[in-house]
């Protein structure tokens, strides 16, 4: 493959991919090699997430990701604006597709419905266990916890509470929750963004700055 040698310019990539015959075939083969390398690189970085797969299965997964990325790159080619190097733009597809696949493999055996149901309840916010007692600080902590609990329970929709529990508390990837709910990453990001905005407004209305609450729990005793 051409990586490591002086590469094609962006204009040369676009022209070759949109040409025909031998020029196009060579550009397609070169692009596929770049995408396979990016997929292999990505899967190796998250090898611990896919440790149940053998080398043969991982190689096949990389091939599949490269193929899917190839399709995506060719479909989006008319939208390439040239702000970045063409190869960086193309790599982004391979990286995205390989990471989505790795997350799917990692979470495939985790029953997400159970995570959503059994995750930490907002009612079970941490108190002062194990923290040296300072009556004034303890009272402020209790007040802050009550405000957070109220914000979650009274101001977030059940869907927002579930998304918050899964994505922020249990660190379920957005892709995986989106797959479970038949949704997409953008919609879930917006759901959580709205939830964060509501919580921030609610805490401000109760007289709390979020940074001050953080200091109460993260700062010293």
């Amino acid at each position: 493959m051409g990586a490591g040698k002086p590469g094609r310019s962006n204009a040369e990539w676009i022209a070759a991919l949109q040409s025909s015959g031998a020029d196009q075939a060579a550009a397609l083969a070169e692009l596929r090699a770049y995408l396979l390398r990016a997929a292999l690189f990505t899967l190796r970085r998250v090898r611990h997430h896919v440790s149940h797969l053998g080398p043969g299965e991982l190689s096949q997964l990389a091939e599949d990701c490269a193929q899917e990325a190839m399709t995506a790159v060719l479909q989006r080619l008319p939208h390439f604006r040239g702000d970045s190097r063409f190869t960086t733009w193309a790599y982004a597809f391979a990286v995205n597709i390989a990471l989505v696949a790795a997350r799917r493999e990692r979470w495939a055996r985790v029953p997400l419905e159970r995570v959503l149901e059994s995750g930490a309840s907002p009612a079970a916010l941490p108190g002062d266990e194990g923290v040296p007692s300072d009556p004034e600080r303890s009272a402020l902590r209790a007040e802050a916890i009550a405000a957070i609990r109220d914000g979650i329970e009274q101001h977030l929709t059940p869907k927002q509470q579930q998304a918050l529990r899964a994505v922020i508390f249990e660190q379920v990837p957005l892709d995986e929750l989106a797959r479970l709910w038949g949704s997409n990453r953008n919609a879930l990001y917006k759901l959580l963004h709205d939830a964060r905005r509501k919580l921030k407004s609610h805490l401000a209305a109760r007289g709390f700055k979020v940074e001050e609450i953080l200091d109460l729990f993260v700062g010293g005793g």
Binding site: G4, R85, A92, L99, P173, L203
Partner: protein, 89 residues
């Protein structure tokens, strides 16, 4: 909710902005941002909305970190060959 989960929630709420990029917009801007960063330019000055999204979104952040490393190694001529990557999977 344990203390770590509470801290994570509060940090995300503290950094919440009225307007934030969507994941799709982040994906579209990421290659340019990464190229600027690898070239030693200041990506946040050119694309200011991207970093706040990366701080909020763990999956986009993972993709950014991977793409940045890939682009950096390639720019330095230190990216392993396909064969080597395949062998060390």
């Amino acid at each position: 909710m344990n203390r770590g989960q509470l801290e994570r929630l509060l940090r995300l709420v503290a950094r919440t902005e009225e307007d934030e990029l969507s994941c799709s917009a982040c994906f579209d801007l990421l290659p340019h941002y990464v190229d600027l960063e690898v070239a030693g330019e200041a990506p946040d000055a050119r694309i200011p909305l991207l970093r706040p999204h990366l701080e909020q979104c763990a999956v986009c952040r993972e993709e950014y970190e991977t793409l940045r490393e890939l682009a950096r190694l390639e720019a330095e001529g230190r990216l392993s060959s396909t064969d080597d990557l395949g062998r060390t999977l």
